[in-house]
Structures are given as structure tokens and as C-alpha cells.
Symmetry: C2
Amino acid sequence: MNERDLSETDMVVRAAWLYYVAEKTQNEIASILGVSRVKVARLIADARTSGIVTIDIDHRLSALSELEERIRNRFNLKFCYVTPESEGGDKEDDAVARHGVGMVAARILRSILTQEQSKEMVIGLAWGRTISAMADALLPVNAPQAQFVSLLGSLTRSASANPFDVVQKLASKTDGQAKYLPVPFIADSEEDREVFIQQRVVQDIIRTAMRAQACFISVGECDAGSFLSRFGYLSKEDLAFLNSLGAVGDTLGLFFDENGNYVDSQLCRRTLAINLSDLSQSDIILLSAGTAKVNATRAILKAGFITGLVINAESARLLGALV
Amino acid sequence: MNERDLSETDMVVRAAWLYYVAEKTQNEIASILGVSRVKVARLIADARTSGIVTIDIDHRLSALSELEERIRNRFNLKFCYVTPESEGGDKEDDAVARHGVGMVAARILRSILTQEQSKEMVIGLAWGRTISAMADALLPVNAPQAQFVSLLGSLTRSASANPFDVVQKLASKTDGQAKYLPVPFIADSEEDREVFIQQRVVQDIIRTAMRAQACFISVGECDAGSFLSRFGYLSKEDLAFLNSLGAVGDTLGLFFDENGNYVDSQLCRRTLAINLSDLSQSDIILLSAGTAKVNATRAILKAGFITGLVINAESARLLGALV
DNA sequence: ACCAAGCGTGATCATTTGTTCATCGCGCGC
DNA sequence: GCGCGCGATGAACAAATGATCACGCTTGGT
């Protein structure tokens, strides 16, 4: 950070202060700082995207917080955040829901990262569009001690939601480190999986992940519309078989039935993901966006290993209604 | 809080969330919530004035934070906040400086009030235009356990800066209690002062004030322009006498010379204010706005009983330059 | 029942803000 | 040395926001 950057950042802070605290107009600020108004607008925009100004909303008064509390108690969670719907109670667009959930999750992540600067900091991450939305929404924060560890093997397709991209993006936004499992998510056989697992690099990652303060995971529906099946990782037969065993949702490569019981199958024994028992020390935060995932979400919550939930309002209502 | 209020607050929270987090336009929000755009604008304005949304600025990157750190170390303070100047380095208007210092002080006060909801909470207050600005700038916060106690007797003139108004305003904004000393600030004689002091109500207030977590006080210059002399509490002769003893500033009815030594005089022995030694358990936060007060501020800081300082940038520079 | 006062509401307008685009300057490579 | 491209800048415009005002509704009082 050179002289120029320093004075530039200083300008950003001063502009932000004058705008948000002193409530001056951008024109006034422009004449105070001796720059053009457009420049002031850019400084203020900078201040927001760089996380120098943060805007918090006390949502305790919202009707949703009552719902949050009910869900929190029912599933014994440390916290539950319900994101307000964007369409007035109407069927909401899944992409919008993901966006909202991602933003709230990003705030949670940011607060974790800014809490303790001294200690080692490990964050475990699954992949998926919601996790990806979280990574996009994270405001930059300086946390060089942070390590972002992928909890699952990689996909070969759909690069946008690859675990590599997620941890990479997070690392670059925080000046932290990215670590990911350099193995496929699903091995061809149980024997192959064993070979992968035994790789020293894989074991290293797993040991790191075991020290994670927090893990962000998402939920997969167990039907034809799900991510896994749409990209060919789950064949129609696999799906039918899993359904016949009662599986309604998956996360971290594990399938669960509607009562939250683990559904064993040959497929699960080929997935490369961190073991649930290895994460007993971590906060496990589930992100769920979209009503299609309600049943799967309920199943995973019932399994009992989740400590925190972020979910969109419509889904939360459905979840809360049946409790 | 009835049904109507509840849904109203809920609307405020939702509108604020959609505006500040989801970054929707007021028009979009209007159609989502099914109200007019004007209504949305009002909801958002409500959210800000009621403190449901709070905007924080990380000013650590500012060049001023270096100055803050220097002052903090020099005078052994727990914290020091320097408010950015509003005019670009130019001579700033005192009223503007007061406003800025008041706003920052209000944020400090608010954070104290929201910290611990359970315990008894006592806040001691001096009076003056800067303290008054703080009271005006405080965003409402629910803190029914808070007690705002006046540390000084009342003035008979200049109602706007009377201690009564300050504690009253703070109490009404927080649902807390207001307590003030129902005696004049300056008694006619030392004997009269003793009579006032011995009143049970006065003793009650003093005992309460002794339990204060934090006290907000301001600084008076000891010259013809000062508050006390302009309102006739200090005669020209008093002033000349105090100056001859080296007094350059006062606070809580006590005068100090440029080295921070207490300047005794007959006048001081007639003022009704809490004893400094009674506040040894409290954080004592000094608000200083305006370059005219730099010398007085330095004197009081040197006296060594201040634990926190809020000061405008220009004054801070003068203060820091001579360190 | 009627009136008056007060508050919330939405139309309209002025101001403020965000965005786009052409231009400028500067450094870098050829 | 010269051109090239990238990033920063401000002018101009379009969008969004805040303010004012008149209207109508409710409420409380006579």
C-alpha cells in the first residue's frame, strides 16, 4: 500500500463519513474534498463494495424473527436466519432466494472472519450455487490467517460451482489461503475411493478441515431436478434406488430420509467428502434457498448435526408450518 | 405495541432489508410490499431515524486514526475518536464541529447502552452545547434500565443546554430514567452550597452517579468567550483572578492550569457538581468541539482523569502537534 | 349527528444520485 | 520516438429519491 493508495483510502473514508454520518449531499462533499461530484459518487460506491461502510439491520422486530425462533428451537440450532422474500409472498424466483441467502451467509462469514484475528482460522466449504452466491456477496475483509477448505471433491463439469472456484474467490477476497481436495467428487469404485483418500495431500486437507471453526454447506434435493442428477452424477437408476430407500435429500455426499436417518448405499461409499464425524468441533451452517429444497432441508436438520441455518422466507414458512 | 404497530415495524424492517441488503429500488420495493413508493421512502427513513438500520464506517484506514493513536498514547486514554472536518482543512464552523463530535459521541453512548441489557446502567452527564448535540444525535434504543444522571447543578438561563433537558431527552429516547440535581450550579456562598449538598435528594443523586458506568463531560475555556462568563456566572473579576492563577479550562466546575493542575478558588468552592473522586469507577469521556477549546482540553487531559476523548479533526491536529 | 383537528396518503415537482460515454493522460512495449 | 492500450476523469443524461402540498379518512368532541 503506497502513499497514493493511502490517501485514496483516506478519501474514501472521509467521503463515506461525510455522506453517511454527516449526511451531506455528494455535491457538498465534492466541494469540501475539492473533487468532482462523480468522483465522490465513486468514492462512496468504493466504500460500500470494499466493506469500509457496513449497513446492519436489526431484524429482531420483524415477524420473521418469530419464525426463526421457532425453527431454532425445533431443530436445536445456535442460530437461524430467515431472509425476507423479495416478491410479496408470491412464489419467489429461486435465483433471488439464493441471492438473499447468499448475502446473509456472507455477513455471517464476515463476522466470523473479523472476530478473532490472532488464531488460526479454518472455514470449511461445500459447493453449489448458494455457496457460490455467498462467495460473491462477501465484502472484502483482511484475514490473512484464514484458510478456506473444500469439504468435497471436485466436479469435472459446471466450473462455476466448483469447490475450487469458491475457495479461490474467498481466499482472494480475504488475502487468505485456499485449499481444495484434488480428487473427483465421485470415484468409480469403492476401491478407487480408498486410493484417493489415502493420498497424503488428501489427508492433509482432511486434517485441516477437522480444525474448521465453521463449515458452510448446502442441501441437495434427491430428485430429477437436483444438481447431482442433472449433471449425470446420479443416474435414473441410482435415483430410483435411493428414493426406494426413502432418501429425500443429501449434503456432503450423504443421503438422508425424511426422518433424518442416514441412507446407506453403494453410491455414498464412492463419494469423496469429509466425514461428518470429523466436523464435530465445527459450527455447521446450512444454506437452503428455494422451496424445492424444503423437504431435503427438513431431513438434514432432523439428522441433528446442523448448528446454524440460513433460509429464505417462503421455505422457512413451509418448514415452520409442519413443525 | 399492538397488532398495527407490529406489522408496521415489520414493514419497516422488510423495506430496509430490501433497500440496503438486497439493493432494490424504492419502486421495486413498493410493488413487492404493495404500497406506494412514497410510503416506502418513509419506511426507509423511519428505519434510519429509529435506529433499525445502523451504518458503520471502519475508519481505521483513515489518516486520522494515526493521530487518534498518538493522542491516545500521550494522554493514556482507552480510546480517542477524531471526527473528520467538514470543510476541507479550512477553518471549520464550531457548530459543525459540535454536530460531528455529538454524532460520534452518540454512537459511543448507544454502544454502551446496547452492550449489557441486564445490569443496572448509569450514565453521568454534564451539560453544554456539545453534550446537547450528542443527545439530539442519539438514535433511539430500548434501554429501560438506563439512568441518566446530571453531574452538575442547573442553570437558570439558557434552557437549551440545561442539564435537565439533556437527561430528559436521553431518557425519552431510551425509555430510561432521568435524574438531575435540583439545585443551582453556583450557590451564593460556601455555606449555602453545604446546605444544598446535604439535601437528601442531592445525596441520592450523588450516590447514583457514583455507580455510573460512563460519564460524558465537556470542556469550558476560561476566557471571555466561555459559556460561564457569557451567561454571567463568571464576572470579569473572577475571570481575571482565575487567569492570574493560571487557569485555562474548566470542567465539572473545576478549573485547571495548562499543566493540568487543579486551580483552587473561592468560586470553585461554591459550585455544585459531583466530586471527581466519586467518579473513579467510571469511564470519563470528554467531548471537545472547536479550536477555541484546544488549550482547555489539553489542560484537562493532562489532569489525568479522562479515559476517552472525542474531538474534531482540526483541534486534534493542534493537540497532537504540540505533544 | 356533525364538525373540526390531525394524521396518513399519494400526486407532483425539485433535487440528488448513478450510469454511460467520450476524452484525456500516462506508461509500456515495439 | 511513436503508437497503443489501459485506467482515470468529468460532462451529460436518465433514474431514483426526497420534499411539498392538497386531499380524504379517521377520531374525538360537542
